[in-house]
């Protein structure tokens, strides 16, 4: 009985120590394990210039504009706190849309424009069938749409 309890205590202490160590490691990883930086971090000057990285946020509705060459697009990414301009030349994924999340891979230029060489679309945790989308379209959404195409 005694040996059993000793082993139990030992095992629990070991497990506790491992959890503690992992928790410390994970919180230390907090910044480096992030897949992408945010427009707020760019605004605060925390993002190094001309280093390969990813920038993610929501594509500002109405911000996607195509250059005269037909393959370069410019848009704004926002994270509610700040907005960052992005330039990208290439083909975007199907889910890349105004108002949805996107991840841009590239470098931040000295002029503050993020030059992307790849775009990923981000899907959020909401799953809706198509007919639900039109039924649940909020008035605000509609207003934004009308404002974009007068």
């Amino acid at each position: 009985m005694k040996a059993k309890h000793q082993r139990l205590v030992l095992a629990l202490v070991a497990v506790g120590a491992i959890i503690g160590a992992a928790f410390l490691a994970m919180s230390a990883l907090k910044d480096t394990a992030a897949l992408f930086r945010t427009p707020s971090e760019v605004a605060k000057g925390q993002v190094p210039i001309d280093k390969p990285m990813r920038l993610a946020g929501m594509v500002v509705p109405g911000s996607i504009a195509r250059d005269a060459d037909g393959v370069t697009i410019r848009f704004l990414l926002t994270d509610e706190g700040a907005t960052a301009p992005v330039r990208f030349r290439g083909i975007t994924p199907d889910l890349f849309k105004e108002g949805s999340g996107a991840v841009a891979e590239g470098r931040l230029g000295a002029d503050g424009i993020f030059v992307a060489d790849n775009i990923l679309a981000k899907h959020d945790e909401r799953y809706m069938p198509p007919q639900m989308e039109s039924a649940m379209k909020s008035e605000k959404d509609k207003a934004a749409r009308q404002g974009r195409r007068p």
Binding site: R7, V15, A34, L95, L120, K122, H123, Y127, P129, M132
Partner: protein, 238 residues
Amino acid sequence: MHIFANPNRFLGIARPLTPWLGWGGAVLTAIALLSGLFLTPPEQLQGESVRIMYVHVPSAWLGMGGWTGIAVASLMQLVWRHPLAAVAARAVALPGALFTAICLVTGSIWGRPTWGTWWEWDGRLTSMLVLLFLYIAYIALAGATADRAGGSRVAAIFGLVGAINIPIIKYSVDWWNTLHQTASITLTKNTIDPSILWPLPIALIGFSMLFGGIVLMRMRALLAEARIEARLKRMADA
């Protein structure tokens, strides 16, 4: 759990339970997957590729649940010297690795049309890949040290230590910003429309029953193997 300490009593329960879990799980899985293919609507943004969810989510759940089982069994083996605990942990490892691999492959297939990439080194994807590597290491370690009576202690310690990856997988999407979306279903919210969601619980139960059936089968095989070896040893000694 102590009721099952005796392998013979365990076999008395496991033998009739195996076909029920196996066939029941197969039927429920078939119902869920066919419903997910033909009865549910496509998703507004993902389109038809949302249907991968009915395989991807149960596989992820079993990959993580499998290692949780290994950790619990390892603790029981180390503390209570349970004769069946090591057998259970070894039996879980292979199907656990299989479902983790299915989760990674289906996720990759979904990621290509949805995100625009097969693979990205984000927190969720990387920690899930680490889980697959942990399973492979566990299988190798348990296999290499299996000849010890009462099971391998090294494998049990590894099973317990590796469990730290499970909460990391679960909370990776909350701790770090990741490409993978955060949880759709938590205790307090559900952001999947019911018309898309309903086959998922059936798939979860079906996959889990199949998993349970496979584990019982493998436990019985491992016990039979140990029995054969013991008999051969006795014959060699005689």
